[in-house]
Amino acid sequence: MKAYLIRRLATALVLLWVVASVVFFSIYVLPGDPAHVILGGMDANPTPEQLRAVREKLGLDRPAVTRYVEWLTHAIRGDFARSLITDRPVAADLLVRLGRTLQLIVPAITIAVAVGVPTGVFAARRRGTVYDPLASAVTLLGFSVPVFVVGPMLVYVFALWLRVLPSGGYVHPMEQPTAYLTYLVMPALALAAGPMATTMRMARSAVLEQLPLDYVRTARSKGLADPSVLGRHVLRNALLPVLTIVGLQVGAMFAGSVIVEAIFNWPGMNAFLLQAIGVRDYPVIQAIVFTASGLFITINFMTDVGYAVLDPRIRYA
């Protein structure tokens, strides 16, 4: 077990390093002076003063190697220098924004799992009755209807038509808890829709895979009632692939939250990123991509660990 964990951890760290390097060297990839790349774009024509300002701020005249090492050592500590535009330290803003994005992701994944798993199990048990194809249809829909369709639809129904929820925005949860919840509901639901469908599908097929196996027959012939069979034996085995999928979904939610934050004006990390891209605030872009990827890698790592914990066979892989 330990060897496996250490190996996985080493891989994760290597990947983190690769990500950091890619993020750093990306401005050198395009032909031309890095300052120009940062300020440029298809139509922009930066003035010499602007170029000089960017060069100074980012220290581009110093050798790349020095800056690279500096970037690595700082990034690990979470020091991401200052924004090009607002000159505020990036790390502080990033933390706040990240927190807000997590306020979307955590409820969303909770909803997805809390609704998806039981429904999937239910559909598996009721195979052959009318519920199963119904569940499959709902799943397929949730799977294929994109976030940016679910979002506006929710806005239309609840904000414009029924007028019970605000169409977007954010308040601090500590200051106005009830209002905060109204702002949270729709984005969290929109974000949860797809993963909920995928989780349900996975849970259903995972349980279905287990049911014909011998140990289930043994458990039943021992006299165990179905709920016990399910709870004590089947689920432990079925949850494995579900866990992997859930881990993947959390990662996918990073992507989904970009769109959700845009639709609902939720000032999270992804909104921050879109903003920074708009004004070409490179230090911010760098910091966010690195942090998000780091989180992504961490989540994948933890999924692997969870997998190993649940299935002893994996530990020897």
């Binding site: 690769v18 990500v19 990306s26 994109p146 097929s205 992507a255 879109l274 872009i285 966010i288």
Partner: protein
């Protein structure tokens, strides 16, 4: 039977995309403020959007964009990815290690973030979107090709090919490639639907083909700001996108079920 409906939808979308100019009665970019957000009528089958542009025509041209992007990007991902995966699996050694580590590295970025990041530098355009989405899917194809190559590598016919003195290229092309084609095909059909989704998402964020291109995602985004005026300009492209992605997913599922029953049920 179950395949008929989705396959039909795919066929219709493809046909509309190919024949867009013929199918559209109006220039998709023709603005006419007098008939803003008009309801469906005989003149405009699906009504007009908030600028008075005919929705049907815009959807038709949008189909072009979606299909072009998804086909091109999946083609890129398939060719590059399977080359990388096959090479890594066949030659093994340090080459395999390096190649697969790069692949893993690509997979460490949350997908849309990587797309955003790249498009920041390259600028939004149709070609860039294709390249980015292609790049995003390379790891998937590479992994599948790699795994499949590993399992095929030790079989007798591959060994026979080498023993007969075939060059590496020949062995790869003749012996290995045909036998790893099945899972690659499955991933291709699944990837098409996902690529459409990704392209629409990027357009929604404003990073896709620049205006006035009427990509479905962009149509939804623009029209969603005027939903209080009329929800229909949002509803039509929403239905079209969802139905198309759904159809592609179902066709992909059917392909997967037909070719590799072991994968059935995997999301």
């Amino acid at each position: 039977m179950r395949l008929a409906a989705p396959a039909a939808i795919v066929a219709v979308v493809a046909a509309v995309a190919a024949l867009a100019p013929a199918v559209s009665r109006y220039d998709p970019d023709a603005i006419d403020p007098a008939i803003r957000a008009a309801a469906p009528s005989r003149a405009h089958l699906l009504g007009t959007d908030e600028y008075g542009r005919d929705i049907t025509s815009r959807l038709a041209y949008g189909a072009r964009i979606s299909l072009a992007v998804s086909l091109a990007s999946v083609a890129i991902a398939l060719s590059v990815g399977s080359m990388v995966g096959m090479t890594a699996g066949y030659f093994g050694g340090p080459l395999e290690l390096i190649l697969m580590r790069i692949v893993d590295g690509l997979l460490s970025f949350p997908p849309i973030l990587l797309a955003l990041f790249v498009i920041t530098f390259l600028g939004p355009s149709l070609v860039n979107v294709i390249l980015v989405i292609g790049l995003l899917y390379v790891p998937r194809f590479a992994r599948i090709a790699h795994g499949a190559t590993l399992s095929v590598r030790e079989t007798e016919y591959v060994q026979a090919s080498t023993a007969l003195g075939a060059t590496h290229g020949r062995t790869l092309r003749r012996a290995i490639l045909p036998n790893i084609a099945a899972p690659l095909f499955v991933q291709t059909s699944l990837g098409l639907g996902q690529a459409i989704l990704l392209e629409a998402g990027l357009s929604f964020l404003g990073l896709g083909a620049p205006p006035p291109a009427s990509s479905w995602g962009r149509m939804i985004e623009q029209s969603s700001r005027f939903m209080s005026l009329s929800p229909w300009p949002v509803i039509w492209p929403s239905i079209v996108v969802s139905a198309t992605v759904l159809a592609f997913n179902l066709v992909g599922d059917a392909a997967r079920d037909a070719l590799d029953p072991r994968l059935r049920g995997r999301a």
